[in-house]
Every structure is written in structure tokens, then in C-alpha cells.
Symmetry: C2
Subunit: 209 residues, 2 copies
DNA sequence: ATTTTTTTGTTAGCTTTATCACAAAATCAA
DNA sequence: TTGATTTTGTGATAAAGCTAACAAAAAAAT
């Protein structure tokens, strides 16, 4: 199958989460418009996404939830698991590791790196924190392919370079540093930009020039 | 001026941050291609954004940084400040309040709400935590127009409804609940979807069917 | 049996966002 | 002075993403 549009992949992830919940309450089939309304999008959008992944529903019955979940899984998951590292275990890093470990089971946090002597050697949500010096070694040994950057911005670029060099293929950058990467997929989350965007689009009409 | 494209607003926020740093080291003018390379985008994109906000540079000299920063500010900021509330002050809420309070000064955290008796009455980064019962009252009294949701997902929709009813105009939702809002701008950040997207696009070629 | 309703699948078109290509003007080089 | 170079500003075009519209088929209603 050809590489899917980014937005479709995002929605597939959301479809699956919603569908798993429905499966757990024994729902078997779902109509495009039902799924759409759960995500607050249109039914056509749902049907188009499902078409793109090559699944086909039953007329008048809708889509078989189990089959759809399985197909989405074979598409967006890697067979087996993916190992993940978190670099910088401050407040945000801790929030993320808890959240990730509790909310899905295909992407496994296996290592944490930090400079803080007090944190090195201790565990967070069962995952060991190592010194930054160990990064290359552990990334290779544990086959880590995804990394989260939650460290001070000035170290983001050099850390990203080291991670990619050691074999990481996907990076989520939570620092405001604008990274320049070669050979890895980058997902940037810039809190301040996001906040300023909300401020702009929610500006009282009053102030709009 | 007509409402700007979402992407342009995001980039304006980033331009400003980069430009402020350059101003602080006494740089006066900047070329579109310089700014572009700092953000890892194209020079045309930069010029088009600047065109959209009605600014004009000097041929052969580039853009006057001070003027550009001022213009971006009049466009994306509200005159005066905006007050912000954080609902749910767990690990993530604490990470966000610290980050927001330290990294910009137009959007001010003025209230926190939580259900935890131990947290109510105490302060985080100088901001008081109130009981959830006080939400409507405080939102009105403090003229809060932006809210961050970092509470358990099952309470996200009802809390959002209450906030909007009380006057909030922009909501950043960090829970995986897909909200249905009327009368407020919504920015959703779904960590798991984002992570699954990175996993998909960084999947070893090997596995791509 | 025929008509109406429901629901999928898909084409064509629309909107939004990004890029190409180039004119215009300022400066520099010869 | 003339020609080359640099850099902005923008119309035209392309790419990505979304939606409208409708055919096809199954089921339900009459």
C-alpha cells in the first residue's frame, strides 16, 4: 500500500481507540456516520479513510469493528513492539512516561536519559534512568527507534543528532528548538506556538482589526 | 485584515520568537532566506506570510526585525493580557504551568482547578488552586478566556461545557477525549495519536507493505 | 412486485496550503 | 554607464486534504 496521508494516519489511530472501546462493550458493527459522529467529523471522511486502507464494509450493516481494528493495527503498528527512550525526565518527561505506559502497549518505554546525578540509576514507572553518556550504547543494545525530547532546548539539536546516529528513526520534540533532521521522522510539539494560536483564534471579535 | 491561515499564525509565533532572540543580540535586519533557514522552511513561505500580514521589507536590505516583531505582536496578541486557567494539576498540568509562566508574558495563568483536597488552597508557580465548584465564579471574576484541560478524560466534555458557559473562548485539550464544542476555539493535543503517527512514519522500510 | 429508504464506495470538485517562476527595483561590478 | 546580481513581492500553479454528489446495492415498506 502507498504511504497514507498524515491526517489519515492520525484519524486511524483515533478510530482504533474508539473502536476498541466499542468492542469491549460488545458492539459488533458500526456505520460510517456513527464513527464520524464520535470523532466529530463527517461520514464521508470516515468512508474515504477506510477506502484508503482497502477495507470494505457491508451495505446496510456497516463495518465489522473487529476486522477494522485488526486492519488498522496491521497498518499503523510495526509487527512486534517498538522501543522508546525519553531524554530529560523533568515534570513533562514524567507526565509523558506515565501516560504512554498506561495508554497503549505497542510502543514501550525502555530507557530514560538525564544529566541529573540524583535521577541516574533510579526508575520512573519501572524504567531506568541512565547517564547521557550511555545514550549510544543503550539505544543500540535496546534497539530503540523512537525518542522523546523533553530536555532543555539548547541541547535538543545535538541530542537529536546523536540519537539518529545511534539508530533512532522517529523523534518527538517537545522543546521549542526548531530541529534540522536527516534520516528520521520528526514530530514537533511547540506548546507556546500552540497557545498563541489558541489566543489568536479565540480573540474577542472586538479586537480583530 | 482577514483572518489568517492557521499555519501562518503558527509560523508568525515562531518567527517572533526567533526574531526576539536576534534583536537581543543587536541584529537589525533579516533576509527572508535567513529567517527561512532558521525555521527550516522556504524563503517564499516566509515572504508570503509577511505579505499576508501586510508588512513590506526593503529591497536588498531585508526586513527590519524590530518592525516585524511589533507588527506580529499587534496581530497575534490581544491588546493587554489574556488570563488562563488550568483544570487538573497533575504532572502534566504542573509541567505546563511552569513552562507557560516562564516562556511568554501575554497569557497569564491566574487560576488552577482540581478535585484533590490536598491541592486545593495551595499554589503552583504562584497560582492558587481552587475547588472545581468555584470554576464558574472564578472564571467570571478573573475574566479567564483560555483554559487548559489536563484532567481525567471522562470529565473533559462536561468541564469544557461549563468553561464555555462561563465565558472561556479558547480551550486546549490535552486529554484523549474528542470534544464537541460550540462557541470556542479548540486545540487538541493527543499524545497517543501523535506517538502512533511517529511510529508509522518512522517504521523501518522493511515492514512497509 | 414495486417503490422507498438506507448505507457503502467513489468520482469530481472545492478549499487550503505550499511552491514555482518571474517582474521590479536596488545595489554592485566592470 | 551598462550589465550582472541580489532580494522583495506576487500571480499562477501544484499538492494536500476535505466535501458534495451520486451510483449501486441491499433491505424495508407498501
Amino acid at each position: 500500500m502507498r504511504q497514507l496521508p498524515e491526517r489519515t494516519v492520525e484519524r486511524l489511530s483515533q478510530y482504533r481507540r474508539v473502536l476498541l472501546r466499542l468492542l469491549s462493550i460488545k458492539k459488533e458493527y458500526i456505520y460510517s456516520h456513527e464513527l464520524a459522529s464520535l470523532l466529530h467529523i463527517t461520514a464521508v471522511q470516515v468512508r474515504r479513510d477506510i477506502m484508503l486502507i482497502g477495507h470494505t464494509g457491508t451495505l446496510r450493516l456497516g463495518y465489522k469493528i473487529k476486522d477494522l481494528v485488526d486492519l488498522i493495527s496491521t497498518i499503523i503498528d510495526t509487527p512486534g513492539k517498538r522501543n522508546l527512550a525519553i531524554v530529560g525526565i523533568g515534570n513533562l518527561g514524567q507526565a509523558l512516561i506515565n501516560y504512554i505506559a498506561s495508554n497503549q502497549d505497542k510502543i514501550i518505554p525502555v530507557a530514560i536519559f538525564d544529566v541529573n546525578e540524583k535521577k541516574i540509576g533510579s526508575t520512573f514507572h519501572g524504567v531506568t534512568c541512565y547517564s547521557m553518556d550511555m545514550m549510544e550504547e543503550i539505544v543500540k543494545k535496546e534497539s530503540i527507534t523512537i525518542a522523546l525530547l523533553t530536555l532543555p532546548p539548547q541541547f535538543a539539536q545535538s541530542t537529536a543528532n546523536r540519537l539518529i546516529e545511534a539508530g533512532v528513526k522517529g523523534i518527538m520534540n517537545f522543546t521549542p528548538t526548531l530541529l534540522n533532521l536527516q534520516g528520521a521522522f520528526l514530530e514537533q510539539y511547540d506548546m507556546i506556538t500552540s497557545l498563541e494560536k489558541v489566543a489568536y483564534f479565540s480573540k474577542p471579535k472586538f479586537f480583530v482589526s
